[in-house]
């Protein structure tokens, strides 16, 4: 990298180098439209005429409308836009036929209306925007164009009936994700966002004997995977987090005795996909809570326009209603929505007044754009107001996307959540719907808010997260749980942590109580897997260093040393647990074997090459053989998904 005078210089160079060349086709299209509009503006074309603009391109009109209508606070801008508004009132911009996806009723009305002063259109467009929100795609721009040209005297007249609006949004949605112009084949259409994380690399024990990570009880990745596979698509490899797949399932691990919050169990067995390596399986079983303190829950619900799909707001309302049944009379619930502006829909209400809460939930409707930052502030303010000593306060955020109004950057949002966590209010994040999920932000928020990130794609998933495992999601029994494993270079040549890529910690962070880590909820099980290559195994991939330090001889009876740190809820000082893992491979037991099958499945989806010939059929066989009790049918479902993935991967 060349030397730069200063940071600004570097930024200048980077900006210059990265700017792509304009696309000729887009350029021509834009220029043509500009010229056509120019011609129309001269009054040469007053009749409706066909254009070459396909519906998805019609968004430019929206931009046009916005430029006219949006007052800008900067004084100079005000000057320009007021000039333009004057112009709009007197000049016909253009006339265009309705795109096919616009419901005919709406458009006809618009076209038929006589010209009127521009100003009513401003209000009308704002209203329009608020209702359809961000789902409003390019096609809606056409309607706005009409507004510019022939604003209606009565805004209500053009406002479509709710059904019509729903229909129009629906058709936009189904014609859907085509934000991209035609000649852009490589650009994926979805705006779902996932954090980048390359799989954990193989570590050589003599070089790096210590591995440190935070536990992860999120399950979002599994539900995401299920929803992808059910739609007949292999999931984006980046969306697959192996540890979240593994931790989706409840396991019957040995339960803690006495007053420790959890019990850890380590087993070593043969790796299913490689007979020459071993799988070290770390199992943590959290204690069940018998007496729980009262809960204060603030539902922070995204009711922006895009939430009106059946798998979003309606599912959300259903899901939260399911959960109400699990609450006790003394628990309190409040509801805050965010869309355009944040609002408190339900003041803190005792769970015993279930009717009132349900009514509030059922009244929710989608509309407006997302003002997440503001909503989050309002929700925390309510939570503060509700919380009393000994009670547990939690904000439950349900959304289909990210926030980008209000707090400016993800870092700022994260800092806010983190600060609130310290004051004792936690945050859990529930994702709904597809096409717009910001998985990366969900992860960040939940991780920093001492909460769980779950993705709810079906009512059954809501049942699992909010009913069957509610106490785990709501009651933290140990927080900042960190795992550190030191491998013995005399017995372990190489090792690899499977999953937990987004949860890696630095070695020194283990003893630093200020460093945040994952939480264990009541009854949660957490599983971590290492693939370990013993010294002398055929599977050792690296050659020993010629001049390196000779591996310490002597202790050949220990495989590894496990350290665990956790804090009691609310404590600032961590406690340490230690355990020696002896050399020797045994039978994993069906719980560990099932987790290995899922870990293998996840790695297959990520395209991990360490698995060799081991494929979906092997994962299916292993999972099938170790279904165990499977009271809720989760494991059977996993096998179904594996078979789906197998078929899809053969296409």
């Amino acid at each position: 990298m060349p030397e730069f005078k200063d940071e600004l210089d570097k930024l200048r160079a980077a900006l210059r180098d990265a700017t792509p060349a304009p696309d000729e086709a887009s350029k021509e299209a834009a220029l043509r439209v500009a010229e056509k509009n120019f011609a129309n503006l001269q009054g040469s074309a007053t009749a409706v005429r066909p254009t070459d603009i396909n519906p998805e391109r019609a968004g430019f009109l929206k931009g046009l409308g916005q430029m006219f209508m949006k007052p800008n606070l900067k004084p100079m801008m005000l000057a320009t836009s007021s000039l333009v508004i004057v112009g709009v009132g007197t000049v016909l911009v253009t006339r265009q036929p309705a795109p096919p996806i616009q419901p005919a009723t709406v458009v006809e009305k618009v076209v038929a209306e006589p010209p009127a002063p521009a100003s009513p259109a401003v209000a009308d467009m704002e209203a329009d925007d608020a209702t359809t929100g961000r789902l409003m795609s390019r096609s809606s721009g056409v309607k706005r164009m009409k507004l510019d040209e022939a604003p209606a005297p009565i805004s209500g007249a053009r406002q479509p009936a709710p059904q019509a609006m729903a229909e129009s949004t629906q058709s936009i949605a189904t014609n859907g994700a085509f934000r991209d112009r035609l000649p852009q084949p490589q650009i994926a259409q979805s705006r779902d966002q996932f954090p980048d994380a390359t799989p954990n690399p193989l570590k050589v024990t003599s070089e790096e004997p210590v591995s440190t990570f935070s536990i992860d009880v999120d399950t979002a990745s599994y539900s995401w995977l299920r929803s992808s596979l059910s739609r007949g698509q292999l999931p984006d490899p980046k969306s697959v987090r192996v540890e979240e797949l593994v931790n989706y399932f409840p396991y019957a691990y040995p339960v803690p005795v006495g007053d420790v919050p959890f019990q850890q169990t380590v087993t070593v067995s043969e790796t299913p996909w490689n007979p020459d390596t071993q799988l070290m399986h770390i199992a943590i079983q959290g204690a069940q809570v018998t007496e729980r303190p009262p809960l204060n829950l603030v539902f922070l619900l995204d009711t922006s326009g895009s939430m009106q799909d059946a798998n979003k707001l309606p599912l959300l309302v259903q899901s939260f209603r399911l959960m109400l049944g699990q609450l006790r009379p003394e628990d309190e619930v409040a509801i805050v929505t965010y869309a355009g502006s944040a609002g408190t829909v339900l003041e803190p209400t005792k769970a015993s007044e279930r009717r009132k809460i349900e009514d509030a939930l059922l009244r929710l409707s989608a509309g407006g754009s997302t003002a997440g930052g503001e909503g989050l502030r309002a929700a925390y303010a309510l939570a503060d107001q509700m919380s009393r000593d000994g009670e547990v306060s939690r904000v439950l955020l349900a959304t289909d996307g990210d926030f980008n109004v209000g707090m400016q950057s993800n870092a700022e949002l994260k800092g806010f959540v983190e600060q609130k966590r310290k004051s004792g209010t936690y945050l859990s994040v529930f994702g709904f719907g597809r096409g717009n999920v910001n998985d990366a932000l969900m992860q960040t928020l939940a991780q920093n808010g001492n909460g769980q990130a779950a993705y709810i794609d079906t009512l059954a998933e809501a049942q699992k997260v909010l009913v069957d495992q509610l106490s785990g999601a709501m009651f933290t029994i140990a927080q900042d749980v960190k795992i550190q494993v030191e491998f013995n270079p005399a017995t372990v040549a190489e090792y690899r942590l499977i999953g937990y890529e987004t949860r890696a910690l630095k070695r020194e962070d283990f003893n630093n109580d200020k460093v945040d880590a994952g939480e264990i909820g009541a009854g949660h099980t957490v599983t971590a897997l290492y693939e370990v290559t013993p010294v002398g195994s055929d599977a050792v991939l690296t050659d020993p260093l010629r001049f390196g330090t000779v591996a310490a001889d002597g202790n050949t009876s220990d495989l590894a040393f496990l350290r665990l740190r956790y804090k009691e809820p609310g404590a600032t000082q961590s406690k340490l647990l230690e355990e020696v893992v002896p050399v020797g491979s045994g039978d994993a037991g069906s719980e560990a074997a099932f987790s290995a099958a899922i870990a293998g499945f996840g790695q297959l989806l990520r395209g991990n090459t360490a698995l060799g010939e081991w494929g979906y059929s092997d994962a299916i066989a292993l999972a099938n053989a170790n279904k165990g009790n499977d009271e809720f049918g989760y494991r059977a479902e996993a096998v179904k998904l594996m078979r789906l993935a197998q078929s899809l991967s053969q296409n």
Partner: protein, 186 residues
């Protein structure tokens, strides 16, 4: 005599804009062709995504005929155009956050970034991080001063701010970048 196209190749932006605003379609055509690339570059620097930049440019151009009536030839055309662009980018972002992440651009659209494989070089990552770390108004300022090579005075004129504000903003940008560098080093 009507000026020929060749003659007009040398005509100033301002004169072309004036002619266009008086209804000369040829002048308008020349003007937009002359400025498309500049407009696109600035749009890209404001949004951080090629598709978004194309959309934004398209929107601005489509609206330009009407907007041009607000153009006064006592201002420099490019200054005016920059202003229009910033304004449009801000509006688009505010109104249709989902569609164009222009002002709140440089979002972490991983899927798309992966697809635009050529762009995900290390430098680009640094750039993306750097731009994302900046608040919107600093990003705009950077796009004008570093991206378009405007002087602080010119940028101030475009944004309707004092030169001192731009100078201060650039020092803020520097501070952000330094912070980023120290964080990276950790």
């Amino acid at each position: 005599m009507r000026p020929t196209i060749t003659m007009r190749m040398k005509t100033s932006d301002e004169a072309l804009a004036q002619a266009a605003s008086d209804g000369d379609s040829e002048a308008f055509g020349l003007l937009v062709r002359r400025h498309y690339d500049r407009l696109f570059r600035l749009s890209w620097r404001l949004t951080g995504h090629k598709a978004d930049a194309e959309d934004l440019t398209h929107d601005i151009l489509a609206a330009l005929p009407a907007k041009l009536r607000g153009f006064r030839s006592d201002a420099k055309f490019t200054t005016w155009l920059y202003r229009v662009t910033l304004n449009a980018a801000t509006d688009c972002a505010r109104k249709a956050q989902r569609r164009v992440k222009a002002r709140d651009g440089w979002g972490q659209d991983y899927t798309r970034r992966a697809a635009e494989a050529a762009e995900t070089a290390q430098a680009q990552d640094w750039l993306t991080n750097a731009m994302r770390a900046l608040p919107a108004e600093l990003r705009e300022t950077v796009a004008l001063t570093l991206g378009e090579d405007l002087t602080q005075a010119q940028a101030a004129e475009v944004m309707g701010l004092s030169e001192g504000t731009i100078a201060w903003r650039m020092s803020e940008v520097k501070r952000h970048l330094r912070e980023m560098a120290t964080e990276e080093a950790r």
